[in-house]
Symmetry: C2
Subunit: 361 residues, 2 copies
């Protein structure tokens, strides 16, 4: 029970999938059926000593969160529900989204993730094989991110009262005591970077929903970003702000960054990396790639003096190869995001009202 969180991720192989079984309401009753489901489907995939204790809560060893190497670390805590449809799409599933989404929320605080919880709401009739495949995706994603899934819950709703499966994860992470991320807010002159192409995740899901066929299917970019963040902060610690542009895409993230504050944003549309296939798909469906969700990208606001060092650090990491400097914070037009178009004009980029794409994560 001592040592570092990564100990927890030597997960056992999932047992053979119990195909042809379907979820019944009794699987959510907290009785023997619930126990069997947990043991067969969840423990075999996530298995680690803390989860296997099946206590009402996971108790983490002190070493996990107050390491001898220094006091003053802060705890980051985050949660996200996932309701994406379909449950499985090119490059991923609701399972790895549920892990990476919460890991990334922690990473945006500069935290190293240490533990996740996972709560499942299953609809009666869900195929247990599908569930097991998704749970295996979660286990793989947790292993990749180096976190253990240490506590969980399962509920079942009657047929027609849910949508197959929704997953809510919560996560804990540690922010190093000496983290300088966010030590001052974004200010005029700061550079805005994105870590790669935008719109991939949303279009991967949409292309399945709309039955679009491309030579190579658009894949989700779902990935855990804490390693990329660590590399960025090691190269340039004074990052003013990090955000992951998920629902509402880049446009929402930039809009929130300036909303109600005395700063604006100016960015160059042509500088924002967009995969050509994603761009085509967006055109076919009449969507703006800047409003489409990402699940493995970050937006960083850094002082201009550090922009090139930060960009180099992002590009040197496997998840940031296509990182780009796209614009800057300005004192003019506070509260507004203004894009320079490829045709030399400018346009105001609004925050999306709802989202173009419901049920994308």
């Amino acid at each position: 029970m001592s040592g570092e969180p990564p100990d927890m991720t030597r997960m056992a192989c999932p047992s053979p999938l119990p195909h042809h079984e379907r979820i019944v309401v009794g699987h959510g009753g907290g009785g023997v059926l619930t126990r069997e489901l947990i043991e067969k489907v969840f423990l075999s995939a996530f298995g680690n000593p803390i989860l296997a204790g099946l206590g009402d809560s996971a108790v983490l060893p002190a070493e996990w969160f107050s390491p001898a190497r220094g006091a003053g670390e802060r705890l980051a805590f985050s949660t996200d529900s996932f309701v994406v449809q379909p449950l499985v799409f090119p490059g991923g599933s609701i399972g790895d989204l549920a892990v990476n989404g919460t890991v990334n929320d922690l990473a945006m605080s500069g935290a190293r993730p240490i533990a996740l919880s996972a709560a499942f709401i299953l609809e009666e009739g869900l195929d247990v094989g599908v569930l097991s495949r998704i749970v295996a995706d979660m286990a793989r994603a947790a292993r990749t991110a180096g976190v253990g899934i240490v506590t969980g819950d399962t509920k079942v709703v009657e047929r027609g009262r849910g949508d197959g499966l929704s997953i809510t994860t919560a996560g804990l992470g540690l922010v190093p005591a000496d983290s300088r991320l966010g030590s001052r807010p974004p200010e005029a002159g700061d550079a805005i970077l994105v870590s790669g192409t935008v719109g991939d995740h949303g279009m991967a899901v949409m292309s399945v929903r709309e039955g679009l066929a491309f030579e190579a299917p658009i894949q989700t970019d779902s990935a855990p970003l804490h390693g990329l963040v660590a590399a960025l902060l090691a190269a340039f610690p004074d990052v003013a702000l990090l955000r992951d542009p998920t629902r509402g895409g880049l446009a929402m993230t930039l809009g929130e960054l300036v909303a109600g504050k005395g700063i604006g944003i100016e960015f160059d549309e042509a500088a924002v990396p967009v995969d050509p296939v994603v761009a085509s798909a967006c055109e076919i469906l009449g969507l703006d790639p800047f409003q489409v969700a990402n699940e493995g990208k970050l937006v960083a606001v850094v002082p201009a003096a550090g922009a090139e060092a930060a960009l180099a650090a992002l590009r040197a990491h496997p998840l940031g190869g296509k990182a780009a400097r796209i614009g800057r914070i300005v004192a003019d037009h506070p509260g507004l995001v203004v894009a320079r178009t490829p045709y030399g004009g400018t346009r105001i980029v609004p925050m999306p009202l709802g989202e173009q794409l419901p049920r994308i994560c």
Copy 2:
């Protein structure tokens, strides 16, 4: 940002309820509508400086989890989804259940709760007035429990793809370094205590669903138990095990306690406190009160030598007035729970298969 968690619970009054509004899919899109919903409904109820930061994750001050007064505290982490129907029932709602349920999971580890997350899955068409009422219940329950709701998420599913509202909470708590709870497993001779009447919560929900009318409606027992646990452990620290008998009731909790272990349980049916109205309702519906969910009760396994001190401590607390010593751990019949009936016989009490009552929490 310094000081103790209770600082966080001086919550602002909710703003006037935006009645007559209904949830639309766009409220889940992560855009302006989501932001408005969060600000109007959630922030006004849960408002505290950490949540109001609206970061991707809440970053808790170091003082919250590594207080100067002693190293070696451990962190407890738990999660629970709530899908109860109806959303509101005598004495409570899904809102206070969602807070108390997770607080109690932490309390069963001997932890003092310090922070909660709350993730909402809303069905299109949900009345915002209903949502606001439930959110106000959560805020009140969090205040009572002395925890802040510091981070959250909101998703929306289309009409017919959800069931009004489900809430998933996760919680963090601190287990004192010197906690002796669970320092040895339950063993033959230990006494089994319950902190009060069983079956109240499940029958409060069922009586609404079944339209049963009694002179006084059966109220849920939903309550935060960490204060009761603290009082118990202060009086008698060497408690072997604490559990809250929620889904599957007392029968499930006792069954899990001995399942696969070399011990059994013997208890006296007549010693288990059951409210007479709950007993009548169970009789009418053909239910066993020992299998009905509780949301404000605990089961404690304590060495026989400490049983009377522990019982006295429970009884001295407002939430344990009807605490009772109901039985003991035995070496005979390992894995089995055996009840002495009021008629002098004995019967084996099985773990419920599913649950008699779906959607009870």
